[in-house]
């Protein structure tokens, strides 16, 4: 049914410039590539101030606690009855630059990172931070990526099914499960999973490898062992985000299903299934890609907690330990790197979005 006689001016096309197309001679592919390049560069430039701000936040966080690691250390020693010579403390302070102005400490820290990849020293463990974190960061990244793959692979089909069969039993079931898993925090999920595995299946859960493989080189056997261990944390971390994505996919698709272009495609004689996949699903995926920007931080947050509970060799337990011990360079570097990873992830999602949505690419 026609609504009002005259649509609002917004709905009308740009009446002016009727028939005008930007006079470009390049082929369609060239044009796309050009716009893409410009878009990516723009995003990269935008990311720089964000990275800078994140580094400052990380630095502020590690400076927040009153006192510093040496104070903690001295308190420890004092409580154990030992006394520390004032000279030793002063020497250590100087060595770590702890008596310098804050901005200078920040500058020194950042300079080291940017020029030599030197993140400073872990006071507690007495080792350079770089030695401690890369391995764990790698596992964190791997776990996050696996979780994302799991979440997307499951959420999209369920979301589609739920939307296409709106108000069916399966839709209600999916909706209820989604709400339920949204309400169960990661740590409860991890604890419950461990409880179930240990009491019902008699398996101890923890770590990413069996003891035999922890220090072994990568081999097929190790890979199998890894797969046997990694699925549980992946599911535990992913369920919350999975539930959120199912809801979003469902809502997006319901939105798209009522758009006029669906009717157009139907009027063309397209089969219902082809139509669904080609048009509304394709368009509903676009906003889903942009959710990567917040799913990723959520997954990384979940990964940290779950790793602590399940004692996985990732950044989580290390970060907690560093924070509790006021091991500032270690904690700061971890927070910085985790945030940087997230920002890069968001950048990738922006680029993916531009690749799939010409409206963003050509804006």
């Amino acid at each position: 049914m026609a609504s009002s006689d005259i649509p609002s001016p917004r709905a009308r096309g740009e009446g002016q410039g009727e028939g005008q197309i930007p006079p470009t001679q390049t082929s369609a592919e060239n044009r796309t590539a050009k716009f893409m390049l410009r878009y990516v560069l723009k995003r990269l430039v935008f990311a720089i101030p964000t990275l800078f701000a994140v580094s400052i936040i990380a630095f502020i966080i590690i400076q927040l606690p009153p006192g510093d690691y040496l104070t903690t250390l001295m308190a420890d020693w004092a409580s154990q009855g030992g006394a520390v010579e004032a000279g030793t403390v002063a020497a250590m302070r100087e060595r770590y630059g702890l008596d310098q102005a804050l901005y200078f400490q920040y500058y020194k820290w950042m300079w080291g990172i940017l020029t030599q990849g030197d993140f400073g020293i872990s006071f507690e463990l007495g080792k350079p931070v770089t030695e401690l974190i890369w391995n764990r960061l790698g596992f964190s990244l791997l776990l996050s990526v696996l979780t994302l793959c799991f979440v997307w692979a499951i959420a999209i089909p369920i979301g589609i099914l739920s939307a296409v069969r709106q108000y069916s039993i399966s839709d209600y079931f999916a909706t209820f499960l989604a709400f339920f898993f949204l309400a169960v925090p990661d740590l409860l999920m991890a604890l419950s999973a461990m409880y179930i595995m240990s009491t019902w299946f008699g398996q101890s859960v923890g770590g990413l490898f069996s003891p035999d493989y922890v220090d072994a080189d990568w081999s097929f056997g190790k890979l199998i062992d890894f797969a046997g261990h990694v699925w549980l944390p992946v599911v535990v971390i992913g369920l919350g985000s999975l539930a959120a994505l199912v809801r979003i996919m469902r809502a997006n698709l319901l939105d798209e299903l009522s758009k006029p272009y669906v009717t157009t495609a139907r009027a063309k004689g397209m089969s219902e299934f082809e139509l669904l996949i080609r048009y509304p699903v394709r368009l509903a995926l676009n906003p889903l890609i942009s959710t990567l920007g917040w799913i990723l931080p959520a997954v990384i947050s979940g990964e940290i907690i779950v790793s602590v509970v399940m004692s996985l060799p990732t950044t989580g337990p290390l970060l907690l330990r560093a924070l509790l011990a006021q091991d500032m360079y270690l904690a700061g570097s971890l927070i910085l790197l985790i945030s940087v990873l997230t920002i890069i992830g968001t950048l990738i999602s922006d680029i993916l979005l531009a690749l799939t949505d010409p409206r963003i690419r050509f804006q």
């Binding site: 002016q16 004689g269 409206r359």
Partner: protein, 574 residues
């Protein structure tokens, strides 16, 4: 293949007693209730009706693409296929193979909103070529060739580049051409056009109507054209079906509908359209406003450039005399709304002057006026908005809405109540309704509330921005008559902004024509309508469909090309 009559007779689609119902929570809504018609090869059948008449659902029922939960309850839709066999489309499974082989191949359809009816993320070439792939399995390369040919047929410039573009890179008219190309891909026998020009400007509309006519003749298609615009009907129809609330009121040749309507509703519908074809009778009887009177508002060289660089208002000068109605006519994007809003300083124009004469005879320049002066002037210069939904706060009762300007002007208590009641009576609303919220009012009634708000404090000049555009044609003249009677009672002046020339002609004493931010022509309404001086005005006027099938004009219209100095007249295509 043009105009060859099939040996099987020329009826291609025969709809009998079609009933399409929408089950709702509270009962059954009969969107289409027993509609019958025949569609003949090479002919155009227009289905006309106001909003809610069921004309669109009728069109969609034919292809069984009615939005859920609507469904065909009864009736037959017999399509004579290319091989001479007859299929009843109403009996086919809406998701089945059989109906799909008809959609797009034998019966194609175009829609009202070409932007939302096309996918924004697929190239137009892909979307056009798809029908070929679905119905004929045409390989990619051939598809592209055929799409290029189609784009040429619908006169899209530079088809080779256009084919790889996206819809948002085209203007409204071009998008509708893309839709048409898509519909033509499989050489359908029937084209269903569902309000295809409603979202377009009048000059663009004329071009699309031209195109459809031309393609109909070259392809020999039957066209089922859904519209609410009697002018368009008169211009293109062979036969007309008038619908009202799901039922057919009258059916017959276009000549009969316009010049010898049998049905009461049809007569009134035609009557309300014809009424708007000339100046209002009350205005013809009124003595002329002396040109020598000092102007109420004198706008000189007004300019406004938006931050985007768009020159929305470009060196505009105009004069509003006391007691007159000045029309401002232009197409979308001409800057007329922006200009109207500048007059009230909703936008701040960067250059020029707007000198307004206060009741005490002094003048102020509104462009540079300070806040307190503006506050006073805004009680004298008021505004009526286009959108009857958006311009009333849904959270206030109608009484509160009308009382707002009164209270802000310092009126209190009992006095406000009485004045609100008086105002409601004045605009034809029952004062007992004051406790109701806008959601319980119809579009026309809401617009009356908007008018009551505008005249609440003693106004002298009212800026009416597309005040009747959102209303059905039958309500339009009622609203205009109300505005004129208020003008006479209260001694108002109007600046009446509209894209609709018939409305302007009906109510305005003088008219200014805007085009791309500039005023290209100003003059007495009669003079501008009958003897336009500027080429753009001529083009605009000649593109307006005329509600008289005996006087079809738009095919002989005048086209304005701002880039060339030589005007060119386009001859009709047969």
């Amino acid at each position: 293949m043009s105009n060859i009559l099939s040996p099987l007779g020329d009826t291609i689609l025969k709809v009998e007693n079609l009933k399409t119902y929408f089950p709702t929570r509270t009962g059954i809504f009969r969107a289409v209730d027993g509609v019958s018609f025949e569609l003949k090869r090479g002919k155009t059948l227009c289905v006309v009706g106001e909003s809610g008449s069921g004309k669109s659902v009728t069109a969609r029922s034919i292809l069984q693409i009615v939005d859920s939960p609507g469904r065909i309850e009864e009736g037959s839709i017999e399509l004579t296929r290319a091989d001479g066999s007859v299929t009843d489309l109403a009996k086919l499974d809406p998701r089945g193979k059989d109906i799909r082989s008809v959609r797009g191949k034998e019966i194609a359809m175009i829609f009202q909103e070409p932007m939302s009816s096309l996918s924004p993320v697929h190239r137009i070439g892909t979307q056009i070529g798809e029908a070929l792939r679905i119905h004929f399995g045409t390989p990619k390369k051939e598809q592209r060739e055929r799409v290029l040919e189609l784009l040429r047929q619908v006169e899209i410039p530079r088809p080779e580049t256009a084919i790889d573009r996206y819809t948002f890179e085209f203007s409204g008219g071009m998008r509708q051409r893309v839709m048409i190309a898509m519909a033509l891909a499989c050489n359908p026998q029937v084209l269903i056009a569902d309000e295809p020009t409603t979202a377009l400007d009048v000059t663009t509309q004329a071009e699309i109507l031209d195109l459809i006519k031309k393609l109909q003749q070259s392809h020999g298609m039957a066209v089922l054209f859904i519209t609410h615009d009697m002018g368009v009907v008169a211009e293109i129809a062979d036969e007309v079906l008038v619908m009202y609330r799901g039922k057919v009121m009258e059916r017959g040749p276009v000549e009969q509908i316009f010049h010898g309507p049998q049905d009461d509703y049809t007569r009134r519908l035609i009557g309300s359209v014809v009424k708007l074809e000339k100046k209002a009778e009350v205005r013809l009887a009124r003595p002329e406003i002396p040109a020598a009177m000092p102007p109420l508002l004198d706008v000189k060289n007004l300019s406004l450039t938006f931050a985007s660089g768009l020159k929305a208002v470009d060196d505009v000068s105009l004069v509003v005399r006391p007691g007159e109605t000045l029309g401002i006519v232009g197409e979308s994007g001409s800057g007329k709304t922006t200009m109207g809003r500048c007059l009230l300083r909703i936008y701040d124009p960067q250059a020029g002057a707007m000198s307004y004469r206060r009741p005490d005879g002094s003048t102020v320049d509104l462009r540079t006026a300070d806040k307190s002066v503006l506050k006073d002037v805004r009680r004298e210069v008021r505004m009526i908005f286009q959108d009857p939904v958006g311009s009333l706060s849904p959270r206030k009762t109608v009484g509160q809405i009308i009382a707002e300007p009164l209270k802000l002007a310092g009126m209190k208590g009992r006095e406000v109540e009485d004045r609100v009641a008086e105002l409601m009576r004045q605009v034809g609303l029952d004062p007992l309704w004051r406790e109701r919220y806008p959601h319980s009012f119809s579009g026309g009634q809401r617009q009356r509330v908007g008018i009551a708000r505008a005249i609440a404090v003693k106004p002298r000049l009212i800026i009416a921005d597309e005040a009747t555009s959102a209303l059905d044609v039958s309500l339009r003249s009622q609203m205009l008559d109300l505005m004129m009677s208020l003008q006479d009672q209260l001694g108002l002046s109007y600046v009446f902004i509209s894209h609709d020339m018939s409305v302007i002609r009906y109510i305005c004493d003088r008219v200014a024509v805007m085009y791309r931010g500039k005023i290209v022509e100003t003059g007495e309404t009669d003079q501008v309508v009958h003897n336009p001086q500027h080429d753009y005005t001529r083009a605009l006027l000649s593109a307006i469909p005329h509600p008289d099938p005996r006087d079809r004009r738009i095919h002989k219209r005048f086209r304005y090309d701002p880039t060339s100095t030589l005007p060119s007249t386009v001859s009709a295509n047969g």
